[in-house]
């Protein structure tokens, strides 16, 4: 499932719910991304999505992950709107028969989300506001999977 939300979420509750009722899944891997304060440079992070389009584009990569890693299931929850330092911004969970596939699928999904997903990100800080683009490292991370 892929979902955007403008509300804070609790990663532990998402994991409990995701892991429940599985009998053939031997591995669940999760990743939680938190908004960083950047030593005070970022008071608020603002994320904009294109509702419908953003979920559908992420869904295409989720389908690739399902196939490539033989996933049983996956969950991606992403915040939009204004996010304060320390708040969870993204949660990814993957379920697979064995751990390697679950770990790698989670890593793969995050590299995509950080570099290519249809979001527009703005940093609000004491020095004003600025739009942020993916870093060179974000692109290198994603190219590992090509």
């Amino acid at each position: 499932m892929i979902r955007l939300t403008d509300q804070p979420f609790e990663p532990g509750a998402l994991l409990s719910e995701f892991a429940r009722g599985r009998e053939e899944t031997g591995a669940v891997a999760t990743f939680t991304g938190l908004a960083r304060a950047e030593q005070g440079a970022t008071a608020i992070l603002e994320l904009e999505a294109y509702p419908g389009f953003t979920e559908s584009e992420i869904g295409k990569i989720a389908d690739q992950a399902r196939e490539r890693f033989g996933l049983h299931d996956l969950l991606i929850l992403h915040r939009v709107g204004k996010i304060g330092p320390g708040e969870p911004i993204v949660f990814v969970a993957t379920a697979a028969g064995h751990r390697r596939a679950a770990f790698e699928a989670c890593d793969f999904l995050m590299d995509y989300l950080k570099s290519r997903a249809p979001f527009w990100k703005k940093e609000h800080g004491p020095g004003g506001q600025r739009w942020i683009e993916p870093t060179a490292q974000d692109h290198i991370d994603r190219e590992r999977w090509d």
């Binding site: 991304g33 994320l47 904009e48 294109y50 419908g52 389009f53 559908s56 992403h78 911004i89 993204v90 989300l113 950080k114 570099s115 290519r116 997903a117 249809p118 979001f119 527009w120 990100k121 703005k122 739009w131 942020i132 683009e133 993916p134 974000d138």
Partner: protein, 79 residues
């Protein structure tokens, strides 16, 4: 009448987020917007700016119908 949506830095530049514009195609729409706001017109042609019509990315020109949704997407930042 097409519904035009701007995202990210394009929205800040234009000072609006969505508007209805009368245009029969994407190229006519671009010309129309550029005629009203030269800086926006140039930004819409900028590197990495993509266009989606009814939530599907398009390259080149495309005819628009009444109620088409046209979104201009600056380079995506990732989450």
């Amino acid at each position: 009448m097409a519904r035009v949506l701007l995202f990210g830095s394009l929205r800040d530049l234009a000072g609006w987020r969505e508007r209805d514009v009368e245009a029969a195609s994407v190229s006519v729409l671009r010309a129309q917007l550029a005629g009203e706001d030269e800086a926006l017109g140039a930004a819409l042609e900028g590197p990495g700016v993509q266009v989606a019509v009814d939530q599907a990315l398009v390259r080149g020109d495309l005819a628009l119908s009444a109620g088409s949704e046209v979104a201009f997407l600056p380079p995506m930042s990732g989450g």
